[in-house]
């Protein structure tokens, strides 16, 4: 393929400013996607099925979680854990504004063009650090120290250009994640609002025979930015993936567009569909069909 080039893979990260995000984690069991209406709030689960790592903490339209106690109870975050943000759109962080526990954790966030509301929110975080721009475009990973180690891969997809001459689309300069089970050789894709093919490191897993276990549909199942490269990445990828749509049942944006996942998904689930059966989250676990 003439369009393929080599990309650097650095040694795994052991700590973020002194915090090991995988301390006491021997295995990654899977991913938990919370029903927060329109937006994303995701946790990774450890060997005991407990959340230990958080991606986004949002949910705006149709979010049932309004008060601090309800948020802290339903979306639990321990103080010594890491919260990472895919990007600064408000539906990816705004639930943390009313809760207490998430804001007490360490946040690792992308440096991006930010709204005044996002900046005001960032001031309420106990400990927030930015991803250095020096690692933009270079896949990073946290990994467990056990045999057949599990890992969290992530990459800041684009550079922040603060000057006025640049139109920064924060969906494309944010962070995309892949959660990987070494034992099962499976991967779950979590790309925030970026089309999956924007995360070029995803191709690594497909090329190396990893089974696609599941994904949270990017941008809440939007059709925006879905292109040929997106289809090419997903179609024919080994596995029978669960596709989860994190959006409000009634939204004016036309989310989700399930049609574009028809040829890809083994199963589809919406977060708003969970409410009807009294659930507030859905897990995608490794090792299951």
């Amino acid at each position: 393929m003439s369009t393929v080039k080599a990309k650097i893979l650095l040694p795994a990260i052991s700590d973020v400013s002194g915090l090991d995000p995988l301390h006491s984690v021997t295995r990654i069991a899977g991913v938990r996607v919370y029903d927060v209406g329109q937006g994303d709030a995701i946790a990774l689960l450890d060997q005991n099925g407990e959340p230990f790592f958080h991606l986004d903490y949002g949910g705006r339209q149709g979010n049932m979680l309004k008060t601090g106690p309800a948020i802290d109870l339903r979306l639990p975050v321990h103080r010594d854990r890491l919260v990472m943000l895919t990007h600064w759109d408000e539906d990816h962080w705004c639930t943390a504004r009313n809760g207490q526990r998430a804001r007490a954790a360490m946040w690792l966030v992308p440096r991006q063009s930010t709204s005044p509301r996002a900046v005001a929110f960032s001031l309420t975080l106990s400990d927030a650090k930015c991803i250095p721009e020096s690692v933009v475009g270079i896949a990073q990973r946290f990994e467990t120290q056990s045999a057949d180690s599990d890992s969290i891969w992530w990459e800041k997809l684009g550079a922040h250009e603060p000057g006025i001459g640049h139109n920064e689309d924060c969906n494309r300069t944010g962070v995309a994640f892949a959660v990987v089970s070494g034992r099962h050789k499976q991967v779950i894709l979590l790309s925030g609002d970026a089309a999956f093919d924007r995360a070029s490191f995803y191709q690594h897993f497909r090329s190396n025979g990893y089974e696609l276990r599941g994904m949270v549909a990017y941008h809440h199942g939007s059709s925006h930015d879905w292109r040929l490269a997106t289809s090419k990445l997903l179609e024919g990828w080994k596995g029978n993936p669960t596709v989860l749509f994190s959006c409000a049942e009634s939204n004016p944006f036309g989310h989700p567009n399930k049609q574009q996942y028809q040829g890809v998904a083994g199963a589809m689930q919406t977060t708003f569909g969970l409410r009807a059966v009294g659930l507030h989250f859905c897990d995608i676990l490794f090792g299951r069909p």
Partner: protein, 260 residues
């Protein structure tokens, strides 16, 4: 010229105070009328979406919309501060370099915390009907990540102008306005706003690495570069829109106000 300025009513005079920060003032579309009192904001363009149906349409604070826009429409979600508060921030926030020192970050955090703790930063949802003459101009000027000047006034039930719904979780009920003006900011004003509302107060994380790790390479597709000529396109559209609305400016008197 000076006689005209002295004769401005209070709301018009308030508008004229925006002039130093605004590069271009364009009027609302034909038929809009001047209905004080005005409120003047500087607003950041967060996102825009095509809205086809009123199903699930909410105000920024999550309330159901009491007043519905004409659909289909483009909804621009903005957030911002009043002109008055911008003036306060100009004095309160010290500019920082593009690569701030730790001392500068600490100072910035302190200044922001003191200034923003009680400052309202509402959302503005601007609905521009798809076939509205302002549509192209709005698309050109409300580019995601850019700032603009926004002047709104109390909505009239039969008002033909684009609807602006202002809301926030901290507001008990959303407020409904008509769009009075949108305008681009001067380079100086936008640069200052981008600096104030940046993450300059946050330091970069430091990453420890596992011992004995190997540096290898993985294959990846070459991605096409992100388009960077969006501003040029937007500016051209802006110029086009400006021509289109020049007649309206003259007819409405807003252009004369701007000259004052």
């Amino acid at each position: 010229m000076s006689r005209r300025r002295r004769s401005l009513p209070p709301d018009m005079a308030r508008f004229s105070r925006l002039r130093p920060y605004v590069r271009e003032i364009l009027p609302s579309p034909r038929g809009a009328r001047f209905r004080p009192p005005f409120q003047t904001f500087l607003a950041y363009s967060e996102e825009s979406d095509s809205i086809e149906t009123a199903n699930g349409l909410e105000a920024p604070n999550g309330d159901r919309l009491v007043r519905l826009p004409s659909l289909p429409a483009r909804r621009f979600r903005l957030s911002g501060i009043s002109l008055r508060n911008f003036r306060l921030l100009l004095d309160a926030i010290t500019p920082v370099s593009t690569e701030p020192t730790q001392a500068e970050r600490i100072q910035r955090r302190s200044e922001l915390s003191a200034s923003l703790s009680d400052m309202p930063i509402p959302n503005f949802d601007l609905y521009v009907p798809a076939n509205h003459p302002l549509s192209e101009f709005a698309n050109a000027i409300l580019v995601r990540g850019h700032w603009c000047a926004l002047i709104v006034y109390r909505v009239e039930p039969e008002a033909p102008t684009p609807l602006v719904v202002v809301g926030d979780a901290q507001l008990s009920t959303p407020e409904y306005f008509s769009l009075g003006f949108i305008g681009r900011l001067t380079l100086a004003a936008e640069t200052r706003l981008r600096d104030i509302f940046s993450l300059a107060h946050l330091a970069d994380a430091e990453f420890g690495r596992r011992d004995g790790g190997t540096t290898t390479s993985i294959p990846s597709p070459v991605m096409p570069p992100q388009a960077t000529d969006g501003v040029a396109r937007a500016r051209q559209s802006f110029e086009d829109a400006k021509d289109q609305f020049a007649g309206n400016a003259e007819a409405s008197g807003f252009g004369r106000t701007g000259d004052g």
